[in-house]
Amino acid sequence: MHAFQYHRPTSSKEAIGLAGQKAEGRYLAGGQSLVQAMKLRLSSPSDLIDLGTIKELAGVKVSGSAVEIGAMTRHAEVAASAEVKRAIPSLAAMAGMIGDRQVRHMGTIGGSLANNDPAADYPAAVLALNATVTTNKRKIGADQYFKGLYETALEPSELITAVSFQVPKRGAYMKFKNPASRFALVGVFVADFGSGNVRVGVTGAGPSAFRQTEMEKALSAKFAPEAVAAIKVKPDGLNNDLHASPEYRAHLITVMCKRAVEQALK
């Protein structure tokens, strides 16, 4: 790991101020991706601005039609939150599937979304649950947030403060795990908001999470596994690596979507 300067601000304001002064600085959330990337020298920030002690960034708020999760809320906290389980059980279940127990104790929603790993789980939920990403500067809609491989709409030094998810009538997340890394080879989040409004978020399959609009249309007409069973997803533009071909990933999108709908109907 290359050397860096470490900062420990106690408020978002102080953190944002520091980030503005350090051109090569990075925010440090839980560190579950960033610290590993730094060890491999894939990332070498001049400064790390640790958000770990900023209390205002953590916590869950439920208000009728939305669940707001603070950026520094750990995956394990979302998975165990009675409020999230009541309002959006599929979101709590998804948080409980991220990484492993130890990673879930450190990793945060803000860190995951700022990193935008192509196989991360949260992006599928953000798209399916039509979430809004709140930063220190603005509110970014789910459809405007993900820009590409590890790329987001965030500007330098812009800080995610919270993510607000819309409460669906029902939903579920299903992922096909890479048998070694346990990352999502393909993960599909299905959310039914009622009156013909269904959203489908897909992660792991492409360079960045995306919505599967053909399946959304089919499920909006009829929310049942057989509605998507015959949909053949085109492999164009999907990831091709030693773990799976684009054709295999395309096939898995249909299979995982079907299973997610089955789960949502249970």
């Binding site: 470490y6 440090l28 610290v35 590993q36 492993d100 130890q102 450190m106």
Partner: protein, 159 residues
Amino acid sequence: MSVRVSMKVNGKPVSADIEERTLLVSFIRENLRLTGTHVGCDTAQCGACTVHLNGKAIKSCSIVAMQAEGADILTIEAVAHPDGTLHPMQAAFKENHGLQCGFCTPGMVMNALDFASSHPNPSEQEVRESLEGNLCRCTGYHNIVKSIMAGARAMAAAK
């Protein structure tokens, strides 16, 4: 550049001047000479470096020591009774042959302790899921699963 880090490890306050880039596991092993916490893969997969940070199992190779500033850390060295009597979870690993070479064992035990504190009578499936972040290259996991199920019940019975 160096920075002052202070935390509580196994109940004792410790502090040292370290480089900012020092990982928590390096601080524990090299500064504190507590070498029961192991480094296996060094890439967040194997869990041999698992310790408790404020009561929660985490991978100490995946955070810098400064992230644990002011925290309470528990390592495998403080799990047994001071007179050497094994903790019920450690005893369960011994009784159920839950280890062969023993390299992964400290991480297995630290993760199992945290898991068992919220799962007093876990099913085999729950235990297997709880081990997603720990790799063992000897046992095939079967006896580790048995150990953790027995250890969790023993911990619940001792309460």
